[in-house]
């Protein structure tokens, strides 16, 4: 049952937000111990908000839809952990993050905060302090990260909607591993106010859900300018326009770097998606590898600068795998950081003309399905690479340019068994999230894309 269907039932009086919330809380209590998605459950707050929706908010677009947020979003009264042990010493947040406020203003009901990789510097969903977010389709495997709890919570049927953040792929990787739809918006589209930052140049926030329409609903509800986030553009709300379909849209399938770094299952998923898009042509972005490298350097250096004080005084309290990468970032010469930022501009100038020929580009989300928990090495082609740094290598080039990307879960090949989920990215020009989401919705309607696993009832 989708978030849109829940809101429809609450709007029509076929269901009450209070009942939806009780079902959600009982499901979390029943299932989360085995999944590790939640770090805080807000039963009292959720019940109070649901009662308000039943009294005054039944007409709202997300009326009664339970949601949860990665624990780097401020939630009034909760300490914003950002997946760390160190942040436990911070005072509780005084107010909700902008995204939380906007979803609640649209009728959604916050039920809790979600596990994540420490300070968002991972692609695995593992966490040295709070345990891993487990993949509901095989609890011995990674949920993906760093928005691991967000993927786990939606795919595990604990909530129909979750928020994550995406710096280098942290919405798209868990969406792929957990078999969900997701959205990384254009950099600057959605306010990040009230979130614990990671990389100022690349950070975005975005939703994960079981349908393209649910992602679109959340995306629309969170739009709008916000003076509290200096990167947030002053654009008015631009709807996703899913009903427009894909007629007239030109789709290109990215080869080259994306073909070379995709395993056979990931590429087969991409080909199934491409086959459902009439007239899809071949596209090349020769600068993708360097764009990924520039994002990699910018991430390490800006992340290190953010955490410099903590690295000086509390380095032993970090997750060791995060700490080692941040210290390395602190030691990169400033000249290379500025060169990486200059490279971003060159890469942008070289790549954006591709959108003169194509409205949307298709690429695999990850090189492979979810690896086993604890895996340290990822094989890409003939190379064995450090997994934590590499899982996002197909997502990172688009982060480098701040492009909007929809994450789309692809149905396993017929006769291949249930298997593990895989996803594709639908990429568009800056500010064209509508194109990404229209293609995602088309793939869903064509039966090629579908959220993996059980579709839970909420009423």
């Amino acid at each position: 049952m989708s978030a849109a269907a829940i809101a429809g039932a609450v709007r029509d009086g076929r269901a009450d937000a209070a009942g939806v919330v009780e079902l959600t809380l009982s499901r979390i209590a029943e299932r989360d111990a085995a999944l590790g998605a939640f770090t805080a459950v807000l039963a009292d707050r959720a019940r109070a908000r649901a009662a308000w929706v039943d009294r005054e908010g039944r007409h709202l677009p997300l009326a009664g839809v339970p949601f949860a947020v990665k624990n780097l979003f401020d939630v009034a009264g909760l300490t914003t952990l950002a997946g760390s042990r160190i942040n436990r010493d911070l005072p509780p947040a005084a107010a909700d993050a902008a995204a939380v406020r906007r979803l609640e203003a649209a009728g959604a009901v916050l039920v809790g905060a979600l596990n994540m990789g420490e300070y968002a510097y991972d692609f695995t969903g593992e966490n040295a302090h709070y345990g891993p977010s487990r993949n509901p389709h095989d609890t011995g495997r990674m949920a993906g990260g760093s928005s691991g709890g967000s993927g786990t919570a939606v795919a595990g049927g604990l909530v129909p909607l979750a928020l994550g953040s995406d710096t280098n792929g942290s919405v798209r990787v868990p969406a792929a591993f957990c078999g969900l739809f997701g959205l990384r918006p254009t950099y600057g589209r959605l306010s990040r106010a009230g979130t614990f930052p990671f990389v100022a140049s690349l950070d975005t926030v975005g939703p994960l859900a079981r349908t393209a329409a649910d992602v679109a609903l959340a995306y629309e509800a969170m739009q709008g300018p916000d003076a509290l986030d200096p990167a947030c553009a002053g654009r008015s709300v631009e709807p996703a326009r899913l009903a427009d379909g894909i007629e007239g849209l030109r789709v290109g399938v990215l080869g080259g770097y994306f073909r070379d770094n995709a395993g056979p299952d990931a590429w087969a998923a991409l080909e199934r998606a491409a086959a459902a898009l009439p007239g899809a042509g071949k596209a090349e972005w020769p600068g993708a590898a360097f764009a990924r490298q520039a994002a990699y350097v910018v991430t390490a250096v800006e992340g290190a600068a953010l955490h410099l004080g903590r690295l000086r005084t509390r380095a032993a309290e970090f997750d060791p795998e995060v700490r080692d990468r941040l210290i390395a970032g602190a030691l990169v010469p400033g000249s290379l950081y500025v060169a990486a930022q200059r490279h971003r501009r060159a890469a942008r100038d070289a790549m954006l003309p591709l959108f003169d020929r194509f409205d949307a580009l298709l690429a695999p989300s990850t090189p492979c399905p979810a690896p086993p928990l604890g895996a340290k090495v990822l094989r890409v082609g003939d190379e064995e690479l450090p997994l934590r740094a590499t899982v996002g290598l197909l997502a990172q080039p688009f982060s480098c340019l701040g492009l909007p990307v929809a994450a789309v879960p692809i149905v396993a090949k017929q006769g291949a068994g249930p298997g593990l989920p895989l996803g594709v990215q639908v990429v568009a020009a800056p500010w064209r999230e509508d194109v990404c989401l229209r293609v995602a919705a088309h793939l869903e309607q064509a039966g090629v894309a579908r959220a993996a696993g059980e579709d839970p009832a909420w009423t």
Partner: protein
């Protein structure tokens, strides 16, 4: 601290424990290689992207 690449850590006030050194060096060498590669061939008349400006912004 035996590797000179790690020397700036001391100036930054970061104490790198001996058992962390190998991993930090691995990541640092990777970053230096990637950074050097993306810095090659950039034209002089090219400003970095501003930190807080969306890529498609006018």
């Amino acid at each position: 601290m035996t590797d000179p690449l790690l020397a700036p850590a001391e100036a930054l006030g970061i104490a790198v424990a001996p058992e962390w050194e190998a991993a930090v060096l691995f990541h640092l060498r990777l970053l230096l290689r990637l950074g050097a590669e993306v810095s090659e061939g950039l034209p002089d008349a090219l400003d970095p992207l501003p930190l807080d400006r969306p890529p498609g912004a006018p």
